[in-house]
């Protein structure tokens, strides 16, 4: 029996060790946030070099159109989600910077135009997907920033 194991062990190890799975685990979104269920479109991406963060903005179709034509007073619920990561040097390409650990997720919702930040609701989540508080001033400042991002040109 021992002999059989001695022969089999290397085979089992080889099969188990295959090629390493390719994932950026630290940057992955918490399952509890249910990003998929929101069925959002990708709007744009913003880097803050001073803070060393990189963010991607997502939104529902209403929000995307409202950002594209800021003066349009489109009816209906608009949802924007800004996900922010720490940045890191890309070990696979010298000259590239990619997302590292997740920092926070911010959600802005409004039924009116984005021009009217006082009407918008703001919620912030930490890297674990837990809701965290923000002061009123902070909320207004973040709503202003998030709703000022222009959608990227995607032909």
């Amino acid at each position: 029996m021992k002999n059989i194991l001695a022969y089999l062990l290397p085979v089992i190890l080889l099969a188990a060790c295959g090629r390493a799975d390719n994932r950026n685990d630290a940057a992955s979104l918490p399952r509890t946030f249910n990003f998929e269920k929101l069925q959002l479109k990708t709007i744009s991406t913003v880097i803050n070099p001073a803070k060393g963060t990189t963010s991607t903005l997502y939104g529902n179709a209403n929000a995307l159109l409202a950002l594209r034509v800021p003066d349009s007073a489109r009816a209906g619920e608009k949802t924007l989600v800004l996900v922010t990561w720490k940045q890191q040097e890309d070990a696979r390409w010298f000259g590239a910077r990619i997302p590292a650990g997740l920092e926070m997720i911010e959600v802005v919702k409004t039924g009116t135009a984005f021009k009217d930040p006082a009407q918008a609701q703001y919620q912030r989540y930490n890297e674990k997907g837990t809701a965290v508080s923000a002061t009123n001033d902070e909320q207004q400042q973040r709503i202003g920033f998030i709703t000022s991002i222009k959608p990227a040109v995607m032909p």
């Binding site: 090629r19 803050n48 390409w93 040109v153």
Partner: protein, 315 residues
């Protein structure tokens, strides 16, 4: 040991065949450099490149005696032909400046990842091996070539013009373009899930990488090495636009690139179809069907990662 007569005849015949084979040799053209076209960087960088790269990536190949023996010379000639086709420092200045910079960054990345110089070549040409210090010299040099991050009115104007056509929905051509290999532009990428983003300091672009449903499922199930057939990865690149606060966001659209996985259909190109469409007019990249070798060569350092640079983020 005494050899019998039969063995002696066999050895003699083999020796004769080997000698005869020496008359059958490939031509490896070696030219004097044309100074106007030849690459010149800093003296330090020049010394490294001439020592480690020039044998295969220039017309100034210095063949050693053992490179000239048949059959080794056929292998050497093949390496040189392929090397010169990909990158030739003797005709370096024929390229436009942005292309030269991109090529040098790529070469340095190939060296960092250990893909170049080729292991088989470095094994017998010891002087070609790159030290940690050599790599650092190359890194420091290319860093200086990176475009500066600053507000740029020309970039703002380029975006404004694209934006106007986008809002009027004039940007996209009526029929979807396809490239020389028949790979068509896939407009649905915008509705896929972004699996990562990249700030490319080397070429002043900012990118979002999208994955189709097959890719997203593979990420969730930890099946990304290799990726399953049906995976499509779309990488969209824009100019970096720096605002007054110093934030960098997406400027004018530059291109979208696709990698489409089918390990049998695209076996010759590492299991992927490769395509690139440039500008909002979606001009297909590549004049001949073999342009995909450029893609494969650049991605080769990622061969143990199914030729994919992106480390995908699960959403």
């Amino acid at each position: 040991m005494r050899l019998n007569k039969k063995t002696k005849i066999v050895v003699a015949l083999l020796l004769l065949a080997f000698l005869a084979a020496q008359f059958y040799r490939p031509t490896i053209a070696v030219e004097k450099p044309d100074e106007k076209r030849l690459a010149h960087f800093s003296p330090e960088v020049d010394a490294i490149l001439r020592r480690a790269c020039f044998d295969c990536h220039s017309n100034q190949t210095a063949l050693r005696w053992f490179d000239k023996i048949t059959p080794a010379n056929w292998l050497v000639a093949d390496h040189i032909a392929k090397g010169r086709a990909v990158l030739n420092f003797s005709t370096w200045n024929d390229m436009a400046k942005p292309d030269r910079n991109a090529k040098l960054w790529e070469a340095v990345n190939q060296a960092i990842q250990g893909a170049m110089p080729l292991k088989s070549y470095a094994l017998v040409h010891g002087a070609a091996r790159l030290s940690v210090n050599d790599i650092q010299v190359l890194k420091n040099y290319v860093k200086e070539l990176a475009p500066k991050q600053e507000a740029d009115t020309a970039k703002e104007a380029a975006l404004a013009s694209q934006y106007a056509s986008l809002v009027e929905e004039k940007a996209r051509p009526d029929t979807l373009p396809a490239d020389v290999n028949g790979i068509a532009y896939i407009p649905e990428y915008k509705d896929w899930t972004p699996i990562s983003t990249t700030q490319r300091v080397d070429n002043g672009t900012i990118r979002i990488i999208f994955g189709n449903e097959v890719a997203v499922k593979a990420i969730r199930e930890h099946h990304t090495n290799p990726w399953p057939n049906g995976t499509i990865i779309a990488k969209v690149a824009w100019d970096q636009l720096t605002d007054k606060q110093g934030n960098i966001t997406t400027g004018a659209f530059k291109q979208v690139e696709y990698m489409i996985k089918d390990d049998s259909k695209y076996k010759a190109t590492a299991g992927w179809a490769w395509a690139r469409f440039k500008t909002p007019a979606l001009v297909p990249y590549g004049k001949t069907s073999t342009f995909t070798m450029e893609c494969v060569n650049c991605h080769r350092p990622m061969k143990d990662n199914d030729f994919v640079f992106t480390a995908p983020i699960q959403h």
